[in-house]
Amino acid sequence: MGTNEQNNLLEVQNLHTHFHTDSGVVKAVDGISFSLQSGKVLGIVGESGCGKSIASMSLMRLIPSPPGKIFGDNVSFNGKNLLELSENQMRQIRGNEIAMIFQEPMTSLNPVYTIGNQLGEAIKLHQGVNKQYIEDKAIEVLNLVGIPRPKEILKEYPHSLSGGMRQRIMIAMAVSCNPSLLIADEPTTALDVTIQAQILELMKDLIKQLNTSIIFITHDLGVIAEMAEHVMVMYAGKVVEETDIFSLFHSPRHPYTIGLLNSKPQIDKEEDNLIPIKGTVPNPLNLPEGCSFHPRCDQVMEQCKRQPPQLTEISPGHKVSCWHFSSFTKNNEEVEF
């Protein structure tokens, strides 16, 4: 993505999020770097516990501290370094410039308030307190996300709405202040497939209409194919492969990415068994030496067990962190085979 540096809305360099627990330090996010241009969609995929949610929460600085600790070289958003802002300045950004959609629509709304009250809260907080304006704006965003009878829905309580409706409302809340970045943390995981398709369609519409950048987190490769242009594959807190959506599906390089794609059922192939990635995600307290994927990798070499590989660009816009490809680069003196 290095072509248009000046247009980058978000630029993350070497972000770490560590949790200091009694039994040791959990490196949930361990030095990830990426950038995102305005109006683009970045997908983050990976298994449960690979750090994708923590990475997004870190961008919002929503990691409870202690035990969490966020540090890094630079997280530049619209020219501001998010890591250096005060809590007050950060609150101005949350919900206003960076908004978030959560995984569980059923529990993400407060049961004791009406939809109007909760939607109005976001608008009131960032856009002013004129009652009429708040109501008009609330109806406008509800229309935008395709809620029928918005005026009546404003007076409903969350329990009387379905999961799909609630997720639409969460999206309405998120876009109510026209954020320039929307973080969607598995927004469709808790929904059934038909509703999932509707929500994805809605989000694609919103990208076009509002020109919002989106970080789309999911473990569902089908969803990522639908949504993202650029994809980052994470494993054990690190980025293992970063590429555009076509190369991800057509020429994946990292053994983990290949494993992920193999373990996905395909409608056009008749298979008796899916091919799972053997083993399980390593204990984050005790990551294996060298490349953290090596105990599960079927192409493991001696080198993989000794030293962690670096993320290396193997073709324009396609980066992989694997010793099989690091050896291809010209100036990598560390490689000693």
Binding site: N110, E121, L125, K155
Partner: protein, 299 residues
Amino acid sequence: MSEAEISVATSEDTSTAPAQSELKLVFKQLRKNRLALFGVVIISIFILMAVFAPFVAPYDPLETTFVERLEEPSSAHLLGQDEQGRDILSRIIHGSRISLGIGLISVGIGLAVGIPLGTISGYYGGKIDLITQRFIDILVSFPGILLAIIIISILGVGLQNVMIAIGISTIPIYARLVRGSVLSIKETDYVAAAKALGLSDFRIMVKHVLPNCMAPIIVQSTFQIATAILWAAGLGFLGLGAQRPTPEWGAMLSQGRDYLRIAYHLTLFPGIAIFLMVLGFNLLGDGLRDALDPKSRKI
């Protein structure tokens, strides 16, 4: 607080809203529970008695006479007269003001201090939690009524100090109760969502966390009013509370004790009054606990 917010949000033509608010649901549940309803009736009678005491009471509760002393119940004095010829019925009616006052004010003090303490302690955790919890532990290390007696011995004897003393000794109950609820509610998704919207900690605590832990607080408060009335009566009996000739029920019991063998009515009727009021609040508390718990709701 939650009620106010809800009513603000739905103030304009609620008639079209099909959604049934939590509050209405609770009332509906409460109506089905006969015992709770009985409690409400008892409390309502006492409240009416307290509000209209000067009009309802047949005599002045402080008016003494030397002619008719320790008279048994009669048509003129339904519950008899005490050792100074005062009408016991009138004293009990006026005493309901004092008892209700003690109940409400001491619980008010407990709530006013206990809720913020518990909320802050639970929400922020860490060192703040550690310090407040040690303070609470110190309060809890004394048996409740003993703590109240200690506080009264510091502040001095009197009705006002009884309220303060009981209020202070109930702080730990609320602080712990609220802290427990806050600990679970602060982990919910809607609190995370509120943070992601950019709400301040204070607003999240007041608007999103507290209203969701109201149910146990309301239930505990009704029980606590009953306990406070009992304690006040106990302290009054020990002579630490209301002083002569204030018609406080506990003090009436204590004063009537000397005449127990010759005039039973001096102690029996204030005793029944205490019993009924405590029963009323306990029944209401039981009913509220069931009504506020979605799992025990009868549909």
